[in-house]
Amino acid sequence: MRELIEAHRVIVCTGSGGVGKTTTSAALGIAAARTGKRVLVLTIDPARRLATTLGIGTGAEDVLVPGQDYPGTLWAGAIDPARIFADYIERHARTRAVADRLFANALYRQLSTTLSGSQEFTSLSRLLDAATGGAYDLVILDTPPTGHATDFLLAPQRLNAVFDSAIVSLFMGRTAGLGLASAAWKRSVKIVLGALTFLTGSAFVATFKDFFAAADAIAPDIRETNLLAHRLLLDPSTAFVLISSFDSAKIEEGRAFRDELLAAGYHLRKVVVNRAWPQWTPADAAQRAATGRALLESGHRALADLHDELSGYYMARRTLHTGFPDLVTIAEMDEPVLGLKALEGLAERLLRSG
């Protein structure tokens, strides 16, 4: 883990929902600060207690994590998609009028947050700023808790698809310059718009078209940002860390994700399996047997049986082949990992894990 922290400028923590990504990202941040780095941890939608621990409030600025005492410094920031999107538009709109037209569009608020890929886009935009700003040695990005780990990588493409000039033209009824058989496309456009109008009414379609017209002005910037972010993600100084848990579905998913990452050229450096086994499980079979015997001897049959069943299960899981070369397994902590002390404990485990 030290090498990982030493050798990279960006660490992207990916994984599906419910595996402890945000917690692990924060702990990695502490680990890096312990090795003397100036670190920023960017989180998405942290639990309230974790946000409090990290000192994240409602502001847009990065905050110095309170109560820290490390050789380096640890900063934290929360990614608020609506705000970042608005900031982005402010910065990239050529004129005030362009920005205002977007903000005034009735669909804007809904679209900017529910727009597929917008959460990921805003994370990447924030990452780009932080990684190229020069204030930090290392930026750790926690990714949105989507159902599947790969959603994060596909998001920019989806967003690009929305702002794709051909698609925009289609909805705006423009076909000139697309280099396609004009008559056929014009007919298609008429039919799709006709269907949309029937389904949604002409007022909605007008608002919809207006959104695209307004967004059209900013589309090149969105594509440019996506491109720069894509390059940053591909750079060897960007490490992907897959956070997973030890159940068969997540392991399968992890394998699929690893394959996709490698195929696309990203650098998957580590797989962290959280809650792999409880802290009380003994390391070897002999100890296990001794514990079971001791419980029986002191007359606690039910507990002896439960111990045998559970430790047998965790032992079996520990030998489940995962096929990951750089695998780190973390025991289940006895208490929820929410305060700074608990996070420091996790950071210590990560540093020791190699």
Binding site: S16, V162, S188, A203, F204, L295, G312, E335
Partner: protein
């Protein structure tokens, strides 16, 4: 809308819908499959539906799951519905020339629409789910559809999509549909909500919030399922610190406290939950079938029984 107003239009192939939701990582998909097993054991014909572009049940059960239902057990078929196909079906229904529809509604356009139109994707899924209730000609010969639905935030977006879209799109055929869909989601004769959680601080807090949100949105209180519970003895001994089992028993005592606190919080939901909380066991197996059958046993035993 009164439940009876749907009776007239209800086709012979209308069915109940059981939505299974909960925080990511609590075992929602396993509970959905176990629910399908539970209903099939009671003699019902069940369609188990998973949503999204990737299959969970396929790799788990060693099957190829597609858009067409694949038989799994006697009385259970499994299908995976993805949003773009559902939307294409939905829009295609309104286009006059079906052949043209398929050509125009290619993936790029569908992806853009799905990405851009708020709630349209959710509406397509809800439309597909409720089609037998709304069109006499739409056949789905099952008694129940169990939906392995999205996790918390995304599921609430699904429930809220009809009302949300109804406000944004105030006219047109879609507007009428959004009202019909909202009505169906709020009809206890049609829909049931199963909210899965685990006895840990964050999942319990999220489940309580979600139960209130579901009831607030639909008027229907969800059934609560607490998963992965350990069957612990009533009283745990205090062992001497040099006893080899001391660490284990201390941890079990912590788990027992956490479990009873969690269950108490769920019980305290009162009207925001349907009936009693169903307790599901932690099943110490790496065999998925064994897991699902054990969960189905516990679901059949129902609320009031321990895990």
């Amino acid at each position: 809308m009164a439940a009876g107003s749907f009776a007239k239009g209800r086709a012979r192939s209308a069915h109940r819908i059981v939505f299974v939701t909960g925080k990511g990582g609590v075992g929602k998909s396993a509970v959905a499959a176990a629910t399908a097993l539970q209903l099939a054991r009671a003699g019902q014909r069940v369609l188990l539906v998973e949503l999204g572009s990737r299959s969970f049940y396929g790799p788990l059960l060693g099957m190829q799951i597609g858009a067409q239902a694949v038989p799994w057990r006697a009385g259970i078929g499994i299908a995976r519905w993805d949003v773009e196909s559902a939307l294409r079906e939905y829009i295609g229904h309104y286009l006059v020339f079906q052949a043209a529809a398929d050509k125009i509604l290619n993936n790029a356009v569908m992806k853009a629409l799905v990405a851009a139109a708020p709630g349209l994707a959710e509406l397509a899924i809800l439309g597909k789910l409720t089609a037998p209730m709304r069109h006499a000609w739409y056949r789905r010969d099952v008694d129940a559809v169990v939906v392995d639905a999205y996790a918390t935030g995304h599921f609430m977006a699904l429930l809220r999509a009809p009302a949300g879209l109804s406000r944004t799109v105030a006219t047109g055929a879609l507007h009428k549909h959004t009202q019909t869909l909202a009505g169906l989601l709020a009809d206890p004769a049609v829909c049931e909500y199963r909210l899965v959680t685990m006895a840990e601080e964050m999942p319990i807090a999220e489940a309580c919030e979600m139960a209130r949100a579901i009831r607030g949105e639909t008027g229907i209180a969800p059934g609560l399922v607490c998963n992965r519970l350990l069957a612990l003895p009533q009283r745990l001994p205090a062992l001497a610190s040099d006893h080899p089992g001391a660490a284990f028993v201390r941890q079990m005592a912590r788990v027992a406290r956490r479990q009873s606190a969690g269950l108490a919080a769920l019980e305290a939901l009162g009207d925001d939950r349907a009936d009693g909380v169903i307790q599901l066991p932690f099943v110490a197996t790496t065999d998925p079938i064994h897991l699902l059958e054990s969960l189905a046993d516990a679901l059949t035993r129902g609320a009031g029984a321990g895990p």
